[in-house]
């Protein structure tokens, strides 16, 4: 940020915010207050924030502002109080794609701090809820320069708008014994392969991936991404019976019964003496027994991923949750990766060809039905995709009737809605 506005020192008047200086939890306010001595614009920011606290009101308005050639990545904000706080006249956030697994060298972190400070207000967030590094407080020119500097130093800007969004994954194989596939590698591979779709909003709406190394889902994929990808395994889990016996000796049999056996969702664990018996056929890879007895148990050796589809938060039709789309898929060789990429492209194509404006893929599936969706993306139905089969007997066999996403698309109410129309025309 290079304008004059920033230079103008401004006294802090923050009686309410000052109350956020007490208490043991680290205070972003104390930090920024201190920093405002170095960065005057931060004082303007804090004074405006104080007004928000006083009036329970917000003074930011959105605008559109992009780096040339890009369709997103800068969240542009202008202040309604720019007269009073000229430094906030333009105060944008730049989203930066994080290193998969949020791992850093201090060199990289210092580079980010320097870039943020040099071009803008010098405020950083680790991390945004989608996983990005967020750099706050740039004016128009500063944000463009920031982007340029980031690019120069090997970073890339994150997603926004109706585009593929920045991916996020758990630490996975870098530091977790549960990881059933290489989440970081997969995240980088998908990001790099599809980077065009991240930078240029060409979809009907946003599309998020989140990758977790196992069913514990430490990357929150199932409710927060359009395509959750979770690690899992085929065949028997690994059991170290010596360690099982040790576990029983240390913790007691009752602990095993109460905390492991009776907690298995499919009741597929039992104990014979000090040996754990696993009915691997019925194990649904929930991870619980492994979590509790991680010294004795581990995921099986034939590993891969389960791909789900359709998670998102609540806008429009209410929360949707990812549901199983591909029960199991290997993700190791180059061919596996190619297959995944090809598969994703097919899903996107069908969704973008048939989805409505602002329709997340979960909403799209809710509208057209999973059966139709599967056909559209060319996936064979599998009973593992469902909790239970249909309970309603009205079926339109497609051979005999058009599917729901074709035909009178906009005028066709979902079959299940009893429309006022029938009454009106009567």
């Amino acid at each position: 940020m290079s304008g004059k506005s920033e230079k103008k020192a401004m006294a802090l008047h923050t009686p309410m915010l000052n109350e956020l200086e007490t208490g043991p939890w680290p205070s972003f306010f104390s930090d920024l207050k201190e920093y405002s001595k170095k960065k005057p614009v931060v004082a303007q920011l804090l004074n405006q924030l104080e007004e928000s606290y006083e009036n329970k009101w917000n003074y930011w308005i959105g605008k559109v502002h992009n780096a040339p050639g890009y369709g997103g990545g800068i969240i542009a904000r202008v202040s309604e109080k720019a007269d009073k706080y000229p430094g906030l006249a333009n105060f944008h956030t730049v989203r930066v794609i994080e290193p998969p697994g949020w791992v850093y060298s201090t060199e990289a972190l210092r580079n980010l701090a320097d870039t943020a400070e040099r071009n803008g207000a010098g405020i950083l967030q680790f991390h945004g809820m989608s996983g990005d590094i967020l750099l706050l407080g740039f004016d128009d020119a500063g944000s463009l320069q920031c982007v340029e500097d980031l690019m120069h130093d090997g970073w890339d800007i994150g997603g926004s708008g109706a585009a593929m969004r920045t991916l996020q994954c758990c630490v996975g194989q870098a530091r977790c014994e549960m990881a059933c596939y290489d989440t970081m590698k997969a995240t980088k591979h998908l990001t790099d392969t599809f980077i065009h779709y991240l930078h240029r909003p060409e979809f009907v709406y946003k599309f998020k991936f989140k990758l977790s190394g196992c069913g514990n889902d430490c990357s929150n994929s199932i409710v927060r991404s359009d395509m959750p990808i979770m690690g899992t395994w085929r065949g028997p889990m690994q059991v170290n019976q010596e360690k099982v016996a040790e576990f029983i000796d240390t913790k007691g049999l009752e602990y095993l019964i109460d905390n492991v056996l009776t907690r298995c969702p499919t009741r597929c664990l039992s104990v014979k003496g000090k040996t754990l018996v696993v009915d691997n056929e019925n194990c649904v890879r929930c991870m619980h027994c492994i979590n509790v007895m991680h010294h004795a148990l581990a995921p099986g050796l034939d590993r891969g991923v389960t791909i789900l589809i359709g998670g998102h938060r609540t806008l429009k039709i209410g929360d949707t949750m990812g549901s199983v789309l591909v029960p199991f898929m290997k993700l190791e060789t180059e061919e596996d990766y190619d297959a995944l990429v090809e598969f994703i492209e097919r899903v996107w194509e069908f969704w973008n060809d048939n989805g409505m404006d602002h329709e997340r893929i979960g909403e799209f599936i809710a509208r057209i039905g999973m059966g139709t969706f599967l056909k559209g993306v060319g996936v064979e139905p599998d009973a593992r995709m469902i909790r239970q089969p249909r309970t309603t007997s009205y079926i339109k066999f497609e051979e005999l009737a058009p599917t729901k996403f074709e035909g009178e698309k906009k005028k066709d109410p979902p079959v299940w809605n009893r429309e006022a129309e029938s009454v009106e025309t009567a």
Binding site: N282, R285, C286, L374, A383, S393, P402, P413, W416
Partner: protein, 357 residues
Amino acid sequence: MSDKPMAPRDQGAPDYNKYLHPLMAKNYGEWVSHDRLRPGVLVHTAKSGDKLYTVRAGSPRTMSADTVRKVCDIADKFCEGYLRFTARSNIEFLLGDKGQLDGLIQAVEGDLGWPLGGTGPSVSNVSHTQGWLHCNLPGSDAAGSVKALMDDLIDEFKNETLPNRVHISSSCCQINCASHGDIAIIVQHHHPPRINHANMQICELPKVVAICPAAAIRPAVVNGYESVEVVHEKCMYCGACHGQCPSMEIRDSETDTLSIWVGGKVSNARSAPTFMKLAVWGLPNNPPRWPEISEAVRRILAAYKEGAKPWERVGEWIDRIGWQRFFEKTGFPFTRYHIDDGPEALSNLNRSAMVRL
């Protein structure tokens, strides 16, 4: 016709007190336990120490007046003139004197020709509907197909060797008057209704337009007739219109098929009640004995018998082993038509990463 006055009298329900077996009347509300002496025979013990024996037998539900009289003869001889029917159209002869049990069984099985059973963990009588015998809507028969089915399942009726009770229902159209069951058979249509426009004016138009769940029917003038038309894209072939209006014909003897549904459960025991779920569709409507239906039901029963734990109802068993296994074990194909697209479609998806691999 008599010349007695025809006017509403609103008499209400019969006084059941007149129809209670003396031991029922005496021990009303005072029963303490029951046992099953053998399949088809229950004994209930009252606080007073009284014991009431019940001989349950399969009835065809539809009977001639003469058959009803035969039933009465038996009840007069053994049951002090009292008997009852069950919620599943079985008959229950009530007996106070255990000494007469063999005689009663002999009379029921021998004279009447009705099999004892349907108690405990068995296949009880099939709930069914009118079919071609009386309803105006059926795409299939009920009584006949049930007779054929029960011929096939007779051993499961007469013995108590299943994990838990199995309640089967069979309905002759999608309206499904016989309702849910552990296993349920219904008819499915595959076309929008064909409209007899010339005949249409006899109906109340607004009714039939309003009843359509898909808002597919709209008034129209066709060939000069005031009639309706059906938007084919919207119609889901439910046949609701046909129930209101005979000129909207939903049935098609060429293309109608039967489907089998599993896992309906009404009782609250262990798990909450559940709707029934689609198991297999596209079975032929094949009178007079519908062998494909019997075969499919037997497949389900065999897999259930082999795989379920005691007290698990059909739906509970499948929930434990997973639907994938159900389809594997029965050999029925899992198709995209099994995937729900009704009001609870989303919650019937597997919204988790829990899969058997």
